[in-house]
Protein backbone atom coordinates (compact mmCIF):
# COMPACT_ATOMS: atom_id res chain seq x y z
CA UNK A 1 0.00 0.00 0.00
CA UNK A 2 2.84 2.37 0.84
CA UNK A 3 4.44 1.99 -2.59
CA UNK A 4 1.08 2.46 -4.29
CA UNK A 5 0.45 5.68 -2.39
CA UNK A 6 3.95 7.01 -3.06
CA UNK A 7 3.54 6.35 -6.77
CA UNK A 8 0.01 7.71 -6.97
CA UNK A 9 0.75 10.93 -5.10
CA UNK A 10 3.99 11.51 -6.99
CA UNK A 11 2.23 11.16 -10.33
CA UNK A 12 -0.57 13.49 -9.25
CA UNK A 13 1.75 16.11 -7.78
CA UNK A 14 4.57 16.16 -10.32
CA UNK A 15 3.64 17.31 -13.80
CA UNK A 16 6.88 16.13 -15.35
CA UNK A 17 6.41 12.65 -13.93
CA UNK A 18 2.83 12.66 -15.13
CA UNK A 19 3.89 13.53 -18.68
CA UNK A 20 6.38 10.67 -18.58
CA UNK A 21 3.73 8.32 -17.15
CA UNK A 22 1.57 9.08 -20.16
CA UNK A 23 4.21 7.93 -22.65
CA UNK A 24 6.12 5.27 -20.72
CA UNK A 25 4.02 4.17 -17.74
CA UNK A 26 5.95 1.00 -17.03
CA UNK A 27 9.22 2.86 -16.80
CA UNK A 28 7.70 5.29 -14.31
CA UNK A 29 6.16 2.53 -12.23
CA UNK A 30 9.46 0.63 -12.21
CA UNK A 31 10.68 3.39 -9.91
CA UNK A 32 8.38 2.17 -7.16
CA UNK A 33 8.31 -1.21 -5.43
CA UNK A 34 4.80 -2.08 -6.64
CA UNK A 35 3.15 -5.46 -6.62
CA UNK A 36 1.08 -6.59 -9.59
CA UNK A 37 -2.25 -5.41 -8.17
CA UNK A 38 -0.96 -1.94 -7.35
CA UNK A 39 0.65 -1.68 -10.74
CA UNK A 40 -2.58 -2.68 -12.47
CA UNK A 41 -4.58 -0.23 -10.39
CA UNK A 42 -2.33 2.68 -11.34
CA UNK A 43 -2.29 1.65 -14.99
CA UNK A 44 -6.08 1.52 -14.90
CA UNK A 45 -6.66 5.14 -13.89
CA UNK A 46 -7.88 7.07 -16.95
CA UNK A 47 -5.08 9.43 -17.89
CA UNK A 48 -7.28 12.33 -18.89
CA UNK A 49 -9.15 12.16 -15.59
CA UNK A 50 -5.86 11.92 -13.72
CA UNK A 51 -4.66 15.04 -15.50
CA UNK A 52 -7.86 16.92 -14.79
CA UNK A 53 -7.67 15.95 -11.14
CA UNK A 54 -4.05 17.06 -10.85
CA UNK A 55 -4.91 20.41 -12.43
CA UNK A 56 -7.87 20.84 -10.11
CA UNK A 57 -5.61 20.39 -7.09
CA UNK A 58 -3.27 23.06 -8.42
CA UNK A 59 -6.23 25.36 -9.05
CA UNK A 60 -7.43 24.89 -5.47
CA UNK A 61 -3.96 25.65 -4.17
CA UNK A 62 -3.76 28.82 -6.26
CA UNK A 63 -7.15 29.85 -4.95
CA UNK A 64 -5.79 29.61 -1.41
CA UNK A 65 -2.60 31.48 -2.30
CA UNK A 66 -4.57 34.19 -4.11
CA UNK A 67 -6.45 34.92 -0.90
CA UNK A 68 -3.09 35.79 0.69
CA UNK A 69 -1.87 38.00 -2.18
CA UNK A 70 -4.99 39.65 -3.63
CA UNK A 71 -3.29 42.98 -4.34
CA UNK A 72 -0.36 41.47 -6.19
CA UNK A 73 -2.73 39.29 -8.19
CA UNK A 74 -4.48 42.50 -9.23
CA UNK A 75 -1.24 44.28 -10.17
CA UNK A 76 0.27 41.21 -11.87
CA UNK A 77 -2.51 39.10 -13.42
CA UNK A 78 0.20 36.71 -14.64
CA UNK A 79 0.84 35.62 -11.06
CA UNK A 80 -1.68 32.79 -11.16
CA UNK A 81 -0.18 31.31 -14.29
CA UNK A 82 3.31 31.71 -12.88
CA UNK A 83 2.27 29.91 -9.70
CA UNK A 84 0.56 27.08 -11.55
CA UNK A 85 3.62 26.53 -13.73
CA UNK A 86 5.94 26.55 -10.74
CA UNK A 87 3.94 24.27 -8.46
CA UNK A 88 3.41 21.72 -11.22
CA UNK A 89 7.15 21.10 -11.12
CA UNK A 90 7.63 21.61 -7.37
CA UNK A 91 5.45 19.26 -5.32
CA UNK A 92 4.94 20.46 -1.76
CA UNK A 93 6.61 18.65 1.11
CA UNK A 94 4.53 17.90 4.18
CA UNK A 95 4.72 20.84 6.56
CA UNK A 96 4.02 21.08 10.25
CA UNK A 97 3.74 24.85 10.05
CA UNK A 98 1.08 26.60 12.07
CA UNK A 99 0.21 28.73 9.06
CA UNK A 100 -3.01 28.32 7.11
CA UNK A 101 -2.55 26.18 3.96
CA UNK A 102 -2.69 29.23 1.70
CA UNK A 103 -0.21 31.21 3.76
CA UNK A 104 2.19 28.28 4.03
CA UNK A 105 2.05 27.71 0.30
CA UNK A 106 2.46 31.42 -0.47
CA UNK A 107 5.54 31.46 1.74
CA UNK A 108 6.95 28.39 0.01
CA UNK A 109 6.40 29.88 -3.43
CA UNK A 110 7.60 33.38 -2.54
CA UNK A 111 11.26 33.11 -3.61
CA UNK A 112 10.38 31.69 -7.01
CA UNK A 113 7.49 34.05 -7.72
CA UNK A 114 9.39 37.07 -6.42
CA UNK A 115 12.30 36.29 -8.70
CA UNK A 116 10.02 35.78 -11.68
CA UNK A 117 8.18 39.07 -11.18
CA UNK A 118 11.39 40.99 -10.52
CA UNK A 119 12.98 39.66 -13.70
CA UNK A 120 10.08 40.56 -15.98
CA UNK A 121 10.26 44.13 -17.30
CA UNK A 122 6.64 43.88 -18.39
CA UNK A 123 5.52 43.72 -14.76
CA UNK A 124 5.12 46.75 -12.52
CA UNK A 125 8.46 47.58 -10.95
CA UNK A 126 7.04 47.21 -7.47
CA UNK A 127 5.12 43.96 -8.15
CA UNK A 128 7.77 41.68 -6.66
CA UNK A 129 8.06 43.83 -3.55
CA UNK A 130 4.29 43.97 -3.19
CA UNK A 131 4.16 40.17 -3.35
CA UNK A 132 6.74 39.86 -0.58
CA UNK A 133 4.85 42.51 1.41
CA UNK A 134 1.57 40.59 1.26
CA UNK A 135 3.13 37.21 2.01
CA UNK A 136 5.25 38.42 4.91
CA UNK A 137 2.36 40.47 6.25
CA UNK A 138 0.36 37.22 6.44
CA UNK A 139 3.11 34.96 7.71
CA UNK A 140 5.32 37.22 9.77
CA UNK A 141 8.88 38.43 9.36
CA UNK A 142 10.91 41.36 8.13
CA UNK A 143 10.93 42.87 4.65
CA UNK A 144 13.39 45.37 3.22
CA UNK A 145 11.53 46.96 0.33
CA UNK A 146 12.46 49.48 -2.29
CA UNK A 147 9.10 51.23 -2.21
CA UNK A 148 6.55 52.63 0.21
CA UNK A 149 4.39 49.51 0.05
CA UNK A 150 1.89 50.69 2.64
CA UNK A 151 0.97 53.52 0.29
CA UNK A 152 1.01 51.33 -2.81
CA UNK A 153 -1.11 48.65 -1.14
CA UNK A 154 -3.57 51.30 -0.03
CA UNK A 155 -3.89 52.60 -3.58
CA UNK A 156 -4.25 49.15 -5.14
CA UNK A 157 -6.88 48.22 -2.58
CA UNK A 158 -8.82 51.31 -3.71
CA UNK A 159 -8.61 50.14 -7.30
CA UNK A 160 -5.79 52.47 -8.33
CA UNK A 161 -2.65 51.03 -9.91
CA UNK A 162 0.51 52.97 -9.19
CA UNK A 163 2.13 53.55 -12.56
CA UNK A 164 5.64 54.62 -11.71
CA UNK A 165 6.17 55.24 -8.00
CA UNK A 166 9.42 56.77 -6.82
CA UNK A 167 11.69 54.39 -4.90
CA UNK A 168 11.29 54.95 -1.16
CA UNK A 169 13.15 52.23 0.77
CA UNK A 170 11.35 50.92 3.82
CA UNK A 171 11.79 48.16 6.40
CA UNK A 172 8.59 46.38 7.43
CA UNK A 173 8.22 44.03 10.37
CA UNK A 174 5.09 41.93 10.67
CA UNK A 175 3.74 39.51 13.24
CA UNK A 176 1.84 36.52 11.89
CA UNK A 177 -1.78 37.19 10.95
CA UNK A 178 -2.90 33.78 9.67
Amino acid sequence: MQAFQDAFVAIVADAALRRRFRVEPDAVLDGFALDADARAALRGIPLDELERFARSLVAKRWHEVARIVPLTARVAPSLGERYRAWVAEHPAPVSLALLSPGAAEARRALPALHAALAADDAEARYAADLLAYEVIRATGGELRARYDLDAIAHEVARGLLSVDPEPAPRVYRFGRST
Binding site: Q2, F4, V9, R52, S56, L98, S100, T178
Partner: protein, 273 residues
Protein backbone atom coordinates in the same frame (compact mmCIF):
# COMPACT_ATOMS: atom_id res chain seq x y z
CA UNK B 1 -37.32 15.63 18.45
CA UNK B 2 -35.41 13.33 20.80
CA UNK B 3 -32.07 11.57 20.38
CA UNK B 4 -28.73 13.11 19.57
CA UNK B 5 -30.11 15.74 17.18
CA UNK B 6 -28.68 19.19 18.03
CA UNK B 7 -29.91 21.16 15.05
CA UNK B 8 -28.38 22.45 11.84
CA UNK B 9 -25.50 24.84 11.48
CA UNK B 10 -22.78 26.23 9.28
CA UNK B 11 -19.06 26.00 8.81
CA UNK B 12 -17.07 28.70 10.61
CA UNK B 13 -15.36 31.16 8.29
CA UNK B 14 -13.32 34.04 9.66
CA UNK B 15 -15.29 36.65 7.71
CA UNK B 16 -18.32 35.81 9.87
CA UNK B 17 -16.49 35.91 13.18
CA UNK B 18 -17.80 39.25 14.42
CA UNK B 19 -21.36 38.43 13.39
CA UNK B 20 -21.16 35.03 15.08
CA UNK B 21 -19.84 36.55 18.28
CA UNK B 22 -22.70 39.04 18.26
CA UNK B 23 -25.26 36.21 18.20
CA UNK B 24 -26.08 32.92 19.84
CA UNK B 25 -28.16 29.98 18.60
CA UNK B 26 -31.21 31.60 20.12
CA UNK B 27 -30.54 35.05 18.66
CA UNK B 28 -30.02 34.39 14.99
CA UNK B 29 -26.85 32.33 15.09
CA UNK B 30 -26.55 28.74 13.87
CA UNK B 31 -27.60 25.88 16.14
CA UNK B 32 -24.19 24.24 15.65
CA UNK B 33 -20.87 25.59 14.42
CA UNK B 34 -18.46 23.42 12.47
CA UNK B 35 -14.83 24.39 13.00
CA UNK B 36 -11.80 23.37 10.99
CA UNK B 37 -9.15 22.94 13.67
CA UNK B 38 -6.27 24.24 11.57
CA UNK B 39 -7.90 27.66 11.47
CA UNK B 40 -7.03 27.87 15.17
CA UNK B 41 -3.70 26.03 15.39
CA UNK B 42 -1.82 29.32 15.62
CA UNK B 43 -4.20 30.95 18.09
CA UNK B 44 -6.15 28.34 20.08
CA UNK B 45 -7.54 30.95 22.45
CA UNK B 46 -9.54 32.51 19.63
CA UNK B 47 -11.76 29.44 19.65
CA UNK B 48 -12.95 29.94 23.22
CA UNK B 49 -15.52 32.74 22.68
CA UNK B 50 -17.09 30.79 19.82
CA UNK B 51 -17.28 27.63 21.94
CA UNK B 52 -18.93 29.63 24.72
CA UNK B 53 -21.75 30.52 22.35
CA UNK B 54 -22.21 27.51 20.10
CA UNK B 55 -22.11 23.72 20.21
CA UNK B 56 -19.03 22.84 18.14
CA UNK B 57 -18.16 20.00 15.79
CA UNK B 58 -14.59 19.66 14.48
CA UNK B 59 -14.00 18.93 10.83
CA UNK B 60 -10.43 18.30 9.74
CA UNK B 61 -8.92 17.96 6.29
CA UNK B 62 -5.40 16.88 7.10
CA UNK B 63 -5.33 13.68 9.12
CA UNK B 64 -5.07 11.63 5.91
CA UNK B 65 -6.27 8.47 7.62
CA UNK B 66 -5.33 6.40 4.60
CA UNK B 67 -1.65 7.34 4.42
CA UNK B 68 0.38 4.24 5.19
CA UNK B 69 3.60 4.16 7.16
CA UNK B 70 4.90 6.73 9.59
CA UNK B 71 2.21 8.52 11.60
CA UNK B 72 4.28 11.36 13.01
CA UNK B 73 2.55 14.04 10.93
CA UNK B 74 -0.89 12.87 11.97
CA UNK B 75 0.19 12.53 15.59
CA UNK B 76 1.48 16.09 15.64
CA UNK B 77 -1.77 17.30 14.11
CA UNK B 78 -3.80 15.27 16.59
CA UNK B 79 -1.89 16.78 19.50
CA UNK B 80 -2.96 20.22 18.29
CA UNK B 81 -6.53 19.07 17.75
CA UNK B 82 -6.59 17.65 21.28
CA UNK B 83 -5.52 21.05 22.65
CA UNK B 84 -8.37 22.69 20.79
CA UNK B 85 -10.82 19.99 21.86
CA UNK B 86 -10.00 20.78 25.48
CA UNK B 87 -11.16 24.34 24.77
CA UNK B 88 -14.17 23.68 22.56
CA UNK B 89 -15.41 20.29 23.82
CA UNK B 90 -16.71 19.36 20.35
CA UNK B 91 -19.63 17.00 19.89
CA UNK B 92 -17.58 14.98 17.42
CA UNK B 93 -14.52 15.09 15.17
CA UNK B 94 -14.53 14.20 11.48
CA UNK B 95 -12.17 13.88 8.55
CA UNK B 96 -12.39 12.37 5.09
CA UNK B 97 -11.98 9.01 3.47
CA UNK B 98 -9.08 10.44 1.57
CA UNK B 99 -5.38 10.72 1.06
CA UNK B 100 -3.79 14.16 1.34
CA UNK B 101 -0.14 13.15 1.52
CA UNK B 102 2.09 10.27 0.56
CA UNK B 103 4.13 8.12 2.94
CA UNK B 104 7.22 9.63 1.32
CA UNK B 105 6.13 13.10 2.39
CA UNK B 106 4.54 14.81 -0.62
CA UNK B 107 1.62 16.98 0.43
CA UNK B 108 -1.22 17.21 -2.09
CA UNK B 109 -2.89 19.89 0.01
CA UNK B 110 -6.34 18.55 -0.85
CA UNK B 111 -8.30 15.34 -0.86
CA UNK B 112 -7.39 12.48 -3.18
CA UNK B 113 -9.28 9.22 -3.53
CA UNK B 114 -8.26 6.14 -1.60
CA UNK B 115 -7.59 2.77 -3.22
CA UNK B 116 -10.32 0.94 -1.32
CA UNK B 117 -8.65 -2.40 -0.64
CA UNK B 118 -8.87 -4.78 2.31
CA UNK B 119 -5.50 -3.50 3.50
CA UNK B 120 -6.73 0.09 3.37
CA UNK B 121 -9.86 -0.90 5.27
CA UNK B 122 -7.81 -2.44 8.07
CA UNK B 123 -5.42 0.50 8.24
CA UNK B 124 -8.09 3.20 8.28
CA UNK B 125 -10.19 1.35 10.84
CA UNK B 126 -7.16 1.15 13.13
CA UNK B 127 -6.50 4.86 12.66
CA UNK B 128 -10.10 5.82 13.39
CA UNK B 129 -10.13 3.80 16.59
CA UNK B 130 -6.81 5.33 17.64
CA UNK B 131 -8.10 8.86 17.03
CA UNK B 132 -11.26 8.22 19.02
CA UNK B 133 -9.19 6.77 21.87
CA UNK B 134 -6.74 9.63 21.88
CA UNK B 135 -9.32 12.41 21.69
CA UNK B 136 -11.95 10.59 23.74
CA UNK B 137 -14.53 11.87 21.27
CA UNK B 138 -16.86 10.33 18.70
CA UNK B 139 -15.16 10.21 15.30
CA UNK B 140 -16.82 10.27 11.88
CA UNK B 141 -15.51 9.74 8.37
CA UNK B 142 -16.78 11.56 5.30
CA UNK B 143 -17.32 10.55 1.69
CA UNK B 144 -15.56 12.79 -0.87
CA UNK B 145 -16.14 13.83 -4.44
CA UNK B 146 -14.32 11.33 -6.59
CA UNK B 147 -12.49 12.41 -9.74
CA UNK B 148 -12.27 8.71 -10.64
CA UNK B 149 -12.37 5.34 -8.97
CA UNK B 150 -9.05 3.59 -8.59
CA UNK B 151 -9.54 0.18 -10.21
CA UNK B 152 -9.57 -2.95 -8.11
CA UNK B 153 -11.10 -1.43 -5.00
CA UNK B 154 -14.45 -1.85 -3.26
CA UNK B 155 -17.43 0.38 -4.01
CA UNK B 156 -17.41 3.39 -1.72
CA UNK B 157 -20.66 2.53 0.03
CA UNK B 158 -19.51 -1.01 0.81
CA UNK B 159 -16.15 0.24 2.03
CA UNK B 160 -17.75 2.82 4.32
CA UNK B 161 -20.28 0.31 5.64
CA UNK B 162 -17.54 -2.12 6.58
CA UNK B 163 -15.37 0.69 7.92
CA UNK B 164 -17.90 2.15 10.33
CA UNK B 165 -18.71 -1.33 11.59
CA UNK B 166 -15.08 -2.31 12.05
CA UNK B 167 -13.97 1.02 13.56
CA UNK B 168 -17.13 1.67 15.53
CA UNK B 169 -17.17 5.20 14.16
CA UNK B 170 -19.83 7.40 12.61
CA UNK B 171 -20.39 8.49 9.02
CA UNK B 172 -20.39 12.10 7.94
CA UNK B 173 -22.49 11.83 4.82
CA UNK B 174 -21.87 14.65 2.38
CA UNK B 175 -25.00 14.68 0.26
CA UNK B 176 -23.57 17.24 -2.14
CA UNK B 177 -20.55 15.03 -2.77
CA UNK B 178 -22.78 12.03 -3.36
CA UNK B 179 -24.97 13.98 -5.74
CA UNK B 180 -22.01 15.38 -7.65
CA UNK B 181 -20.46 11.93 -7.95
CA UNK B 182 -23.77 10.69 -9.28
CA UNK B 183 -23.89 13.43 -11.90
CA UNK B 184 -20.26 13.01 -12.92
CA UNK B 185 -20.21 9.21 -12.90
CA UNK B 186 -23.72 8.47 -14.04
CA UNK B 187 -25.62 7.04 -11.10
CA UNK B 188 -28.76 8.04 -9.24
CA UNK B 189 -27.80 9.49 -5.87
CA UNK B 190 -31.32 9.00 -4.49
CA UNK B 191 -31.05 5.28 -5.08
CA UNK B 192 -27.35 4.93 -4.27
CA UNK B 193 -27.62 6.64 -0.90
CA UNK B 194 -29.44 3.60 0.48
CA UNK B 195 -26.27 1.52 -0.03
CA UNK B 196 -24.51 3.61 2.61
CA UNK B 197 -24.59 2.74 6.33
CA UNK B 198 -27.26 5.30 7.10
CA UNK B 199 -27.77 4.04 10.66
CA UNK B 200 -24.24 5.32 11.36
CA UNK B 201 -24.78 8.83 9.96
CA UNK B 202 -23.98 11.32 12.71
CA UNK B 203 -23.56 14.37 10.52
CA UNK B 204 -24.64 15.54 7.08
CA UNK B 205 -22.92 18.09 4.86
CA UNK B 206 -24.84 20.19 2.37
CA UNK B 207 -23.26 22.57 -0.13
CA UNK B 208 -23.75 24.08 -3.55
CA UNK B 209 -21.53 23.52 -6.57
CA UNK B 210 -21.53 24.29 -10.26
CA UNK B 211 -20.90 22.66 -13.63
CA UNK B 212 -17.67 23.78 -15.28
CA UNK B 213 -16.89 24.36 -18.96
CA UNK B 214 -16.01 20.70 -19.40
CA UNK B 215 -19.48 19.80 -18.06
CA UNK B 216 -17.97 18.39 -14.88
CA UNK B 217 -19.78 19.17 -11.63
CA UNK B 218 -17.51 20.83 -9.08
CA UNK B 219 -18.02 20.69 -5.33
CA UNK B 220 -17.12 24.36 -4.97
CA UNK B 221 -19.02 25.31 -1.81
CA UNK B 222 -19.72 28.57 -3.58
CA UNK B 223 -23.47 28.58 -4.21
CA UNK B 224 -26.64 27.97 -2.20
CA UNK B 225 -27.65 24.36 -1.60
CA UNK B 226 -29.69 23.07 -4.52
CA UNK B 227 -33.21 21.77 -3.99
CA UNK B 228 -32.12 18.40 -5.35
CA UNK B 229 -29.52 18.18 -2.58
CA UNK B 230 -32.03 19.18 0.08
CA UNK B 231 -34.35 16.50 -1.29
CA UNK B 232 -31.79 13.80 -0.50
CA UNK B 233 -32.45 14.42 3.19
CA UNK B 234 -35.75 12.62 2.65
CA UNK B 235 -33.83 9.42 1.94
CA UNK B 236 -32.12 9.37 5.33
CA UNK B 237 -34.88 7.86 7.43
CA UNK B 238 -32.51 5.19 8.74
CA UNK B 239 -30.42 7.98 10.31
CA UNK B 240 -33.23 9.23 12.55
CA UNK B 241 -31.68 7.80 15.70
CA UNK B 242 -28.09 8.74 14.94
CA UNK B 243 -27.97 12.15 13.26
CA UNK B 244 -26.46 14.89 15.43
CA UNK B 245 -26.28 17.80 13.02
CA UNK B 246 -26.55 19.03 9.46
CA UNK B 247 -23.93 21.54 8.39
CA UNK B 248 -24.17 23.89 5.40
CA UNK B 249 -20.70 24.46 3.95
CA UNK B 250 -19.74 27.63 2.09
CA UNK B 251 -16.21 28.72 1.20
CA UNK B 252 -16.77 31.36 -1.48
CA UNK B 253 -19.46 33.96 -2.06
CA UNK B 254 -19.98 33.86 1.69
CA UNK B 255 -22.57 36.60 1.84
CA UNK B 256 -24.28 37.52 5.06
CA UNK B 257 -24.27 35.20 8.02
CA UNK B 258 -28.04 35.46 8.16
CA UNK B 259 -28.42 33.97 4.68
CA UNK B 260 -26.31 30.95 5.56
CA UNK B 261 -28.12 30.45 8.84
CA UNK B 262 -31.39 30.59 6.90
CA UNK B 263 -30.14 27.75 4.68
CA UNK B 264 -29.25 25.73 7.76
CA UNK B 265 -32.64 26.48 9.28
CA UNK B 266 -34.31 25.31 6.07
CA UNK B 267 -32.34 22.08 6.24
CA UNK B 268 -33.37 21.52 9.85
CA UNK B 269 -37.00 22.17 8.97
CA UNK B 270 -36.88 19.53 6.24
CA UNK B 271 -35.21 17.06 8.55
CA UNK B 272 -37.59 17.52 11.44
CA UNK B 273 -40.77 17.85 9.35
Amino acid sequence: MSGPWRGAGIGYRHAHRAALLARTPSTGGPAVLEVMPDHFFASPGALAPLAERYPIVFHDVGLSFATAGDTSVARDRLRRIAELAAIARPLLVSDHLALTRSPAGIDLGHLAPVWRTEAALALIADRLRAVADLLQLPVAIENITAPFDIPGGMPEAEFLARLVERAGCGLLLDLANLEINGRNHGFDARARVHDYPLEAVVQVHLAGGFRDRAAVWIDSHSTPVADTTFELLRELGRARASLVTIIVERDDNLGDLGDLVAEATAAAARWTA
